[in-house]
Amino acid sequence: MIEEFRILDCALITISTGEQAQNLRELRDRLLVTHPGSIYYHFWGVMLRHTYVDPEYQNDFAVWASHALHDHIIAERLSLIDPNEHISIEDLRREIVEIIEQHLYEKEHVPWARTGEQFQFTRSQIVVFDTKQKLTTPDGFKEMIPRLPLGSIFYHFIDSRRRTAESRNDFSIWLSYFGDSYSELIDRLDNIDPYFTTLGNLRDEISDAFCRFNGGE
């Protein structure tokens, strides 16, 4: 028997790691050793932290490179890193470090930030709690998704990627227990890019996938 799908919610609390970088080389050095949760936070935590999306840069490292180092070349390169393409945080860490090292190799001078504009490494603790809402069949999702809190979207669609063995969203995993009946919907959900967007927009995209599968608009 397939277990019911319980809707969970989450909240993040941010913690300073105490590490900071004044220039690009220091950023590279700190990145090599910082807590994996810090790298995760600077890519994904921003989605639960703010609803404002910087139209130019998608992660905190890129934003800092642009606004504090005023080095738009490295900012653009860092911004294009898609964390979804990396199987683990360690893999993502290697990619960021590689890009920075390549840039340092090409530059004559190490870009510096002014005092007070150092990169501050932070990480988070996630508190997960039960909303008491649950589904026994997938039919209810169409109605439920648009009303889900943004914390639930984060938990089931983003946090799931580092929590589950398949590195996938919770909806697809649960739907796959029903055999092939939902394979088209699962494909749609799996193809949603959770990066380069806000949680509100992500909720709309997920809702749209369920609606279209159920013959809606």
Partner: protein, 417 residues
Amino acid sequence: MDNLLDNYAGVVGYEIIDHLKQLAAPLKGMKIVHVNSTKEGGGVAEILNRLIPLKLELGINASWEVIEGNSDFYLCTKKMHNSLQGDRDDISEALLKNYEETGRQNYEQLRDKLETADVVFIHDPQPAPLLSFANRRKGKWLWRCHIDVSHPYRPIWKYIRKFVESYDASIWSLSTFTQPMPHPLYLIPPSIDPLSEKNIELPLDEVDSVLARHGINRELPVITQISRFDRFKDPVGVIKCYRHIRKSIPVQLILAGGGATDDPEGAEVLKEVKDFAGDDPDIHVLELPPDAHREINALQRGSDIVIQKSLREGFGLTVSEGLWKGKPVVAGNTGGIKLQVIDHYNGFLINTSEGAALRIRYLLKHRSILEEMGSRAHQFVLENFLITRHLREYLTLVVALLHGSDERIELELPGNR
């Protein structure tokens, strides 16, 4: 009181309130005590004024205690405040001794409440020594720092640090404000209360009548800075900015502020400001009592642009207040202001009086951009800087603190999938 949460739901939506209720569920009945040094005036008192009733309505046994001291105590803590923000202001041994003795006396007064509390929040340096007397404490103690301590005057920070490092954790408004500590450093920006007298929607005729009472001409643009008369808020720099603008656009300036009971320097700075303003009839320097919240609200709503030309700022709640009223804010590129004003999006970040004048002239000449920025300003605060977000983070923090330093805390979850 019964419907406080419902009232907030009317502003932020029921989704946010349900979220708070679920986070608060495991904390029901828990005794949480906040301690600071002033009941009115200043951002800390404003936040606590509403945070406590909200926690109570969520079923948490929350209370707020205020420590008391003599004039030397407030002189000492004002110097500490300035020194932690970077002023080189030495403090005599006698004042420090009085500071510690005041802490001891207040601890004796509050002993029962503090020793039986599950969680104690100590706000800012004034009550920081209380923990050193709490040998029989039961709960977790947190030090909440509302000040920018990024470049402190080291001898004074070294003195304060010895009290602060024994806490179980500390809370800071921004990561750049932090100092190394042997405990977790949580980051929680403060917030404004949309239902307080200072921020609630006002009828237009009330706004008009407040401005008329102060002799403001509604036909001319108004720029306003609301803040205590404090050198870090640079009120003289605001007048310089106004004079630059006046060369090309007729404009009126309101500089309004109330005093906080723990700020003995206010009168001195106010005199400097009045002297500098001279007899210009379009500069309105208003001394307001600490409870003039509705009046401040009206002044902000009656303004075209809000200015906050701080040189140093802990957070600068007046920025979010201005943004909430749909006004673009032109503000100093410092501290927590950088978190609230997104340059060219909901206002402008500036470094000089000239820079502020340039941006204000631009907005006054491009009214459609002013309106567009104002609309984004309101939405930005709705989503990021209201007290409901602040409360959510405090609740999350308490839950996290009670569960240790694990990266993931799952509250009595059933087996899922």
